[in-house]
Amino acid sequence: MLTHHSYLILSAILFSLGALGVLIRRNAIIIFMCIEMMLNSVNLAFVSLSKYLGNIDGQIFVFFIMTVAAAEAAVGLALMIAFYNNRESVEVEDLNVMKW
């Protein structure tokens, strides 16, 4: 039996997996994919809560999150290309010009 609880739990699992991925993966593009997964888990939470509450606000929020995620992807990939042009790498270990 699928209740809204199941969706919320799934969303929490996806969110944690995404966060874990951001912390342990070393390639900027994969990190970015993990961030997208976290955003989508938020979308899932919003949609299921919206359905559960019978309130449309959550679904509208999802549209905004998707739009913003698309804009973020455009900017993020452009930044990675700029970095790749200079360092020939998108590994986060190579983000090491500045150190304290």
Partner: protein, 484 residues
């Protein structure tokens, strides 16, 4: 089938933002037809846009405008913050031109991006719906990611942009998850609605979902204001980003983060005051102490100011913990004065820097007072203000923040704040020791004060001194503004 009522459109509620974004879009079009050496005209045009926006902001003081079904509220609180943002972007634009020409990254997109970032900040301050706040935050952040990586042939700038992007997007996810949980617990994304719902259902104040939602939102906002332990991006991004952008980031977006943070926590979650004040107490102490202690070890002046900006976020958090009229008005006042002093200091850093900024170390300021006494004096005024020494704005701001904390009974917090402020004197004074007590090693022949820089430094000094000598008027405005 639920129908969606089209809400009444009240353009007056978003007038300052509209002006800026329209001007920004027009500038993007003009940019296409402008040759590289004439990009500075875009800067002058954007200053006109900022002036018009400032006019609408000033004009609207005292008459709150609500619009878009209660998702935007242009009240005195957002007016006050709008002035900070507009000042910050105007001063940034004034100092940007010389820098981008020197560093050969004179792309015209700089000015529209600054305007868009300012639009985002304004929406963060005037948003009364979690959705508006999120959108404002993202408009700001996406523009800032590009701006941080603006010098695209410079590895440091690339790295700053990419780091800021990855960590910024990561923190936004936490903020969003917090918003989703808050929405789930209360059934609305309107800030006033959340407050009302919690007040009516007091059982909710024990609800773990709402508590976790609040914590996650606090994490997201703390990242934006660079509070420890969510500050790790700050030094690298501030060091690598083009210097005018560093100046912009350290003042404007921090203020915007505080605006949204304050509105969400003071208006929507006053029932959780006991929880979030103890959380913010710890954050404030950590932020101040960490920022100041690490700043002591820095040689690069941009990095030093980055750590000092972390410390300053900590001082402002002291006023947030106090959460009374004096403390919160103190935050507004402090952020305004911080804009003046920090942009002034960064303007001088840009002037002293050579191409590629190989000489950004504190020791490179040796003997500046011999060659350029006026600049050294101006830098000293800004540094005194950052230390918090009277009669500068920094002193008055800190005074109100700490007295707010004492008024609410947080004596220890105020003591830790004052001790921190004393520790910070060391690293600010070090710059002055180099400027005044060492013999010059260079002739500073490359240093050229253009009219734009002259105006910036004069405005900044005037701001620092006026706010420091006669703060009553501005403090009164801040106190009116915080009645949200």
């Amino acid at each position: 089938m639920e129908t969606i009522a089209i809400p009444a459109v009240n353009l007056a509620a978003i007038m300052p933002e509209t002006v800026l974004s329209v001007v920004g879009m027009i500038l993007l079009l003009i940019n296409v037809f402008l040759p590289t050496e004439k990009k500075a005209y875009l800067g002058y045009l954007s200053l006109i846009g900022i002036a018009v926006s400032l006019f609408y902001t000033m004009n609207g003081w005292g008459t709150p405008q609500e619009g878009f079904n209660g998702s935007v509220l242009l009240d005195n609180f957002s007016h006050f913050f709008n002035v900070i943002f507009l000042l910050c972007s105007a001063l940034t634009i004034l100092i940007a031109d010389q820098y981008v020409q020197r560093e050969e990254c004179n792309h015209g997109e700089l000015y529209p991006l600054i305007l868009f970032a300012t639009t985002g900040m304004m929406f963060m301050a005037s948003g009364t719906d979690l959705m508006t706040i999120f959108l404002g935050l993202e408009v700001l952040s996406i523009a800032l990611y590009i701006l941080a990586g603006f010098a695209r042939n410079n590895v440091k700038s690339n790295e700053a942009g990419l780091k800021y992007f990855l960590l910024g997007a990561f923190s936004t996810c936490f903020l969003l998850y917090g918003m989703a949980l808050t929405y789930g617990a209360t059934g609305t994304t309107k800030i006033a609605g959340i407050a009302q719902f919690i007040a009516q259902n007091s059982i909710l104040s024990k609800n773990p979902i709402l508590l976790v939602g609040m914590l996650l939102m606090a994490v997201g906002f703390s990242f934006k204001i660079a509070a420890a332990p969510f500050h790790m991006w700050t030094p690298d991004v501030y060091e690598g980003a083009p210097t005018p952008i560093t100046a912009f980031m350290s003042a404007g977006p921090k203020a915007a983060g505080f605006a949204a943070f304050l509105r969400v926590f003071l208006v929507a979650l006053p029932m959780f005051k006991a929880e979030w004040t103890s959380l913010l107490w710890a954050l404030a102490v950590l932020t101040m102490t960490f920022g100041n202690i690490t700043a002591i070890y820095q040689n690069n002046i941009k990095r030093m100011l980055a750590y000092s900006s972390i410390a300053h976020a900590g001082y402002a958090l002291v006023g947030f913990v106090a959460a009374n009229e004096v403390g919160v008005a103190g935050i507004l006042f402090y952020l305004l004065s911080y804009t003046f002093m920090n942009l002034g200091a960064f303007a001088i850093i840009i002037l002293v820097g050579k191409k590629g900024e190989p000489n950004n170390n504190v020791s490179d300021y040796a003997g500046l007072s011999v060659k350029h006494p006026a600049l050294a004096l101006a830098m000293s005024v800004f540094l005194f203000s950052l230390m918090g020494i009277p009669p500068t704005a920094g002193f008055v701001g800190k005074f109100y923040l700490f007295s707010g904390a004492i008024k609410s009974g947080y004596i220890w917090l105020a003591i830790i704040g004052v001790l921190n402020s004393a520790a910070s004197v060391y690293y600010y004074l070090r710059v002055m020791v180099f400027m005044y007590m060492k013999a010059p090693e260079e002739d500073f022949a490359w240093l050229k004060v253009t009219p734009a820089f002259f105006v910036t430094v004069v405005i900044a000094i005037a701001g620092v001194l006026v706010l420091g000598v006669a703060p009553q008027y501005f403090l009164k405005l801040a106190q009116i503004a915080v009645m949200i």
